[in-house]
Symmetry: C3
Subunit: 135 residues, 3 copies
């Protein structure tokens, strides 16, 4: 089964928890054992598995990436001034593959699935979820 | 086929080679061609494909990440003092997908599959391996 | 369907666009909906989804990684002097999984698939592409 989740982002950079959408898709697929491939459609976005106990780790992710990848110093900035957003996207990666176990995402207690926005706000962002059974 | 590999980690941070476990699972699946999805269940852990000629690259991975992500300066440290471990986990990523070729992991000569521990030691860590045939 | 794409790299470090090869493989597989797992066989290489409007972002990726991972200061350099290449490979990752939508790679307008060379030039590099239908 394959579906596209859409979301709206409301700031320049941030992590958005999409776990409940993906759980709902896995349940509707009726697949008990397999994988869910999660893909961010956008070269200034990414997918990250991360803790969601409160907002602290999400804030720390943005702080870390801002330190590692400063804005305004890249060759690509001469085009559209978002070189840092592309680099953060490439560093984190567009795809993560999550196991499906007993009809649910096989996450640990503290793992959640996040869409990472690095060049927002955007009216419409797309995440492609493809669920495949193991036989 | 889906199985959970368990391991015990004996230090704060380190890379643990799990290639032989994954090779054994692929062989027992009898699948000749397809993929093996390898997933670290834990938001302070990750999966990395890396060389294992000796311990040097594993040490260098920990050194690099300690430089890029210093400990003790994160918002999340106010909760449980492991902000750096979550960030390293997010940077490296919880999942890697390896091809299955002729009933074996399709690694190059120097590639091995590592579980990355960033907040150990832990009595029990889990890696979910899902093997899927290509038709 | 599984195939190995081969390529020759002509410099020490660089990004090589392999999108058209992967699109051709997806079309020849006749699979309409599913995933394409793309895997770099080499522990000094990686796969990155990135913009390809012009060469600027590719140059910026190499600049960023050279800053984050300086060469010549790693334990592994005592073996074969390419410690930085292994670390860049581990940071970016050997695999990306791209959705297949309507018989094409489900990329956004600006996303392309790149092979990242960190220890070239090399006569022969291999990328394993495994395409799996969603049922």
């Amino acid at each position: 089964m394959q579906k596209i989740i859409t979301l709206t982002t409301d700031r320049k950079q941030g992590l958005y928890d999409i776990t409940s959408d993906i759980t709902a898709l896995i349940k509707s697929s009726k697949i008990q054992t397999g994988i869910a491939s999660v893909y961010a459609r956008g070269s200034t976005a990414a997918i990250m598995i991360q803790e969601n106990w409160d907002q602290s780790v999400q804030h720390d992710v943005i702080s870390l990436l801002s330190k590692l990848v400063p804005s305004g110093i890249w060759e690509h900035d001469h085009q559209d001034n978002n070189g840092d957003a592309h680099l953060k996207s490439g560093l984190i990666g567009a795809s993560q593959t999550i196991p499906v176990i007993d009809g649910n995402p096989g996450l640990s207690t503290w793992q959640n699935i996040f869409f990472c926005e690095f060049d927002g706000p955007r009216q419409r962002r797309e995440v492609v979820v493809t669920i495949i059974a193991d036989k």
